[in-house]
């Protein structure tokens, strides 16, 4: 059996008295798409931030392809092949959209790859084309709508050529039509292939999302968090029918 892509072992993180992530362990296989769901404040975003090194866990270990991630800098983790998007989008507002993506393309991981593609602009343009906002490449990022900012976040993440992509609410604040489009893009990205000069192996993904209906169509497996602890794990069907999960989302039955 192949080595698992990501192994998370009993990770803890607390903010003051609040245990945001409490003893969470799970593992991911290569090319797996993992959904991460849970009620508000369940610690989903915190868990993602622990994986990318933005926050340091109090204890526990995160291994990516056998390499320990805890204690590394954010940029080292990104250059190992873990890219993330932010829930509240963080574009470089006064820079053109293409420059936003070029920053990602300039990272050592992305810059070193591809012998015959040395033009950073071309690579950035292809990432934008994949995300579907290449027509606005020269506008300032501050003109983008909420949905397009989400697309920019995705473009920026895939430009660094990740093996594990962490998407934090990719459908948050999007209209139904935009959601469908984004879901399509994500499925296309997972299939892998060549998008212009951008070559994708089809990264594994962890997707944090509240729009379960859309999420269920994409993911292979779902993890449910509640109050920082792992509540359930399994295929979408198993999770939806799990009484504990229903209780966490809807509360106990009244009768």
């Amino acid at each position: 059996m192949a080595e698992p892509l990501l192994v998370v072992e009993s990770v803890n993180k607390s903010f003051g008295g609040l245990k945001a992530v409490n003893d969470v362990s799970f593992r991911m296989e290569q090319k797996e798409v993992l959904g991460l769901i849970g009620p508000n404040g369940a610690g989903k975003t915190t868990l993602l931030r622990l994986l990318t090194g933005i926050l340091k866990p109090d204890s526990g270990s995160v291994k990516f392809k056998g390499k320990e991630l805890v204690g590394r800098n954010i940029w080292n983790i990104v250059n190992l092949g873990v890219a993330c998007t932010f829930q509240n989008m963080r574009p470089f507002r006064r820079l053109p959209i293409i420059a936003n993506v070029m920053v990602s393309c300039l990272s050592p991981r992305s810059h070193g790859k591809g012998e015959w593609v040395k033009k950073v602009e071309n690579k950035a343009m292809d990432a934008l084309e994949f995300a579907g906002i290449s027509d606005m490449a020269l506008e300032k990022a501050s003109v983008l709508s909420q949905g397009d900012l989400k697309r920019l976040e995705v473009a920026r993440a895939i430009a660094s050529d990740p093996e594990l992509l962490l998407l934090d609410e990719p459908f948050g604040g999007l209209s139904p039509a935009e959601t469908d489009l984004m879901a399509k893009s994500i499925r296309r990205l997972h299939k892998g292939g060549r998008f212009g000069r951008l070559h994708s192996e089809g990264p594994a993904m962890i997707i944090v999302e509240h729009k379960l209906q859309q999420l269920m169509k994409i993911v292979d497996r779902i993890i449910v968090l509640n109050f920082g602890t792992l509540l359930a794990e399994g295929t979408p069907d198993e999770v939806v029918n799990n009484p504990q999960v229903i209780e966490a989302y809807l509360g106990k039955g009244g009768d």
Partner: protein
């Protein structure tokens, strides 16, 4: 012969299509020509001296812009680099008798070290805290210099430095030449991929880190580059004025450079340079009314910033040039359609 004519024609075509189409490029070209041709018109020592000092301070202001305007590391103690450059080259010149053409680059290297020394503790600080911390460094160094009069000359400063050259024209072309070369280098740095990363660090540092860029390296790089250019300005100043005094480290020195940069428009390089070339001679004009000199200066700066908060040069550039809404190429304001994509400019 035909080949020569062909290339001359080609060169002229490039000149017409790339330079003459935009007023800002014409202005930059004229600026270079006027600056280099000025001694042909006048060789008044006072006038030459003002232009030399202006050039030196233009390097200084542009180096502040590289660090604070682009990378967003608010440095309110930029005089540190200037002072270290000045004192460094002065000490090497006086104590070790090294000729000035060597001491100025060496002083700049000392300023780079100073940039590292300031930059490393400042890496964790942001915004106001960074500004306050950097403000402290030149004051600390000033204290050290006054405490060690044997080495540093104390409050009187180090006098008796040698000039690089004694001739008027030599000095003029040396300083103006160094200024033009360094300005072009700084512009190239900010126009490159490194410049994009500097911009991005100013906008959102965490997002840059999450894009896989080692921000610590780039922030230190900005500190070092800025220190290097400011150090050269300091060294030139010390050797031209033949004194490296405590005033090079003064708080007012730090703040005038901020005023220059904000006045011209931060994060442009050409903005601060233009601002120095406007404000510094203007200060000399105001010597006609010596009592009101600083008040007039403050009034000019306030009025400009009140009506042009983006900076004077930004404002002027937006008036004389329009950006094509489709391809983002700049056009002269009188054009109806874009010169590249023929879109309507309105």
């Amino acid at each position: 012969m035909g080949l020569v004519i062909f290339y001359v024609k080609k060169l002229f075509k490039i000149f017409r299509n790339e330079v003459l189409v935009l007023p800002s490029r014409v202005v930059v070209g004229l600026f270079f020509i006027v600056l280099l041709g000025l001694p042909l018109v006048t060789q008044d020592p006072y006038f030459i001296r003002i232009i030399i000092l202006t050039s030196i301070f233009a390097i200084f202001a542009a180096s502040w812009d590289l660090l604070s305007g682009f990378t967003g590391q608010m440095n309110f103690g930029h005089a540190l680099f200037f002072g270290v450059g000045a004192y460094g080259s002065a000490m090497l010149n006086i104590h070790f008798n090294i000729p000035p053409w060597a001491t100025i680059p060496m002083g700049a290297i000392v300023a780079v070290l100073a940039g590292l020394i300031v930059g490393i503790p400042c890496l964790r600080l942001k915004h106001t805290y960074l500004a306050l911390t950097t403000l402290a460094f030149p004051i600390i160094l000033l204290g050290i210099i006054i405490a060690l009069p044997d080495i540093s000359g104390g409050e009187l400063g180090m006098t008796g430095l040698k000039r690089i050259t004694e001739s008027l024209l030599g000095n003029y072309y040396l300083h103006v030449g160094v200024f033009l070369v360094l300005a072009v280098i700084m512009w190239e740095i900010t126009d490159s991929n490194t410049g994009i990363i500097f911009h991005a660090i100013r906008e959102d540092e965490l997002a840059v880190k999450a894009s896989g860029i080692n921000t610590v390296f780039y922030k230190l790089l900005a500190f070092c580059l800025s220190g290097f250019f400011a150090g050269i300005a300091g060294g030139l100043y010390a050797h031209y004025m033949r004194i490296a005094g405590p005033s090079t480290l003064g708080v007012d020195q730090s703040f005038t450079v901020v005023i220059y940069a904000i006045f011209g428009g931060a994060a442009t390089i050409y903005g601060p340079i233009a601002a120095v070339f406007i404000l510094f001679p203007l200060l000399e004009v105001f010597r006609l009314w010596p009592e009101y000199r600083m008040m007039l200066f403050a009034a000019v700066v306030l009025v400009i910033l009140l009506y042009m908060p983006e900076g004077l040069i930004h404002w002027i550039r937006d008036k004389i040039e329009k950006e094509c809404p489709r391809c983002k190429i700049r056009n002269i304001a009188t054009r109806k359609t874009c010169r590249i994509c023929t879109a309507n400019l309105d």
